[in-house]
């Protein structure tokens, strides 16, 4: 008789969650490995344009970043809505670029200096006037290797958005 009684009292067994930590850890490791800590806090909108004839920038340490774009909403009241340049963590003027490049060069070893590349991370809504000013400034300090950083994608598709 007792045999039957046992079955009667059975409820839905709880789902075994013992493997949950394993799954979470797996995700955690993925993100830990894939994460690149941002060097600069962006104070501008930075939606990069798309292109498909791209080359990879191989040596991360030999890249100088120049950001440009409209100030993001937090800074709009202070800096207006015209596209601006950001160097390191602050807004800068075109004339500050020369000093920035000089500082970056000084922080690298001498033999590495010729291989320094300037990556221009410019918002797709920016005007060419600003970009041209940056390029002129880079020519003045002889930083001729540049890279227009873009996302991978069809350039023509990107235009339509």
């Amino acid at each position: 008789m007792s045999k039957f009684k046992k079955k009667k009292g059975g409820e839905m067994p709880a789902v075994n969650t013992a493997s949950l930590p394993d799954i979470v850890f797996m995700l955690l490791f993925f993100f830990m490995v894939a994460t690149v800590m941002r060097q600069n806090t962006l104070m501008i909108e930075n939606k990069l344009p798309q292109a498909d004839q791209i080359e990879k920038l191989d040596k991360k340490s030999l890249v100088m970043y120049i950001y440009a774009g409209k100030p993001s909403t937090n800074y709009k009241s202070q800096y207006g809505s015209e596209a601006r340049i950001q160097l390191n963590d602050k807004f800068a003027d075109v004339s500050d670029i020369a000093a920035f490049i000089a500082a970056e060069r000084a922080s690298k070893r001498e033999e590495e200096v010729p291989f320094l590349t300037t990556a221009l991370k410019v918002d797709s809504d920016a005007n060419m006037g600003l970009v041209t000013d940056i390029k002129q400034e880079l020519r003045k300090v002889n930083a001729l290797k540049i890279n227009y950083t873009t996302r991978k994608g069809d350039a023509l598709e990107g235009l339509k958005q």
Partner: protein, 210 residues
């Protein structure tokens, strides 16, 4: 005395800790883009004497403030769409209208006397307005690089059929850290050869101020 079993550590909160870390990394992660169009700026010092270039060897592009593209080449001017730019640029570069010393050995174009002489003579020039939008500029740059790459791919395949790769793939293999130094040295010679055969003669004029 009876041996007591060591009490088991409660691992129930491990999932919580892992979740906390996971969420932290999820929030801070930005998948950085680190690829783009590589270009070289011209040096500042300008040579005094002007180089004389025949008009037929110039493929003159102009992007105006409304992001429209004008093309002036072979004595005609027209508005073109960016999607047609790649094909027109390839036709221009590949024309091979030169004769005698300027004859183009590998061009497969129509040999129109009003268009470019050979790969080496053909120049693409781009002028933009200060109010041109950056994404249009990048699209134009992208199409021009694509046109050069198309020709370089073709020439690379023709010159080195045994490698079974095109120019872009070869360049990728060259910059790949896994490639052995021996292969790298061999690739470099070949890449340089194609680069001198089909040079990127691309000039950017100072933008018009408005």
């Amino acid at each position: 005395m009876a041996k007591r079993a060591a009490p088991e550590v409660n691992a129930g909160s491990m999932a919580d800790i892992a979740f906390l870390l996971l969420i932290f990394f999820l929030v801070t992660t930005t998948i950085e883009t680190d690829s783009g169009l590589n270009r070289k700026l011209p040096p500042m010092e300008e040579s005094d004497q002007d180089v004389i270039i025949k008009e037929k060897n110039i493929f003159q592009l102009e992007v105006n403030r409304n992001n429209q593209l004008f093309l002036k080449t072979g004595g005609e001017e027209k508005v073109i769409e960016i999607k047609d730019l790649r094909a027109s640029a390839v036709t221009f570069l590949d024309n091979g209208g030169g004769t005698g010393d300027d004859a183009c050995r590998y061009c497969q174009g129509k040999k129109d006397p009003r268009s470019s002489d050979n790969f080496d003579k053909a120049i693409i020039s781009l002028q933009n307005d200060r109010a041109t939008k950056y994404d249009t500029y990048i699209a134009v740059q992208n199409e021009i690089i694509a046109a050069y790459n198309e020709l370089r791919n073709r020439e690379f395949k023709r010159a080195f059929p045994s490698l079974d790769m095109n120019f872009v793939e070869a360049e990728k293999a060259y910059s790949d850290p896994r490639t052995t130094p021996g292969t790298k040295a061999k690739l470099k010679v070949k890449l340089e050869e194609i680069k001198t055969l089909v040079p990127q003669k691309f000039s950017e004029a100072e933008p018009k101020s408005n």
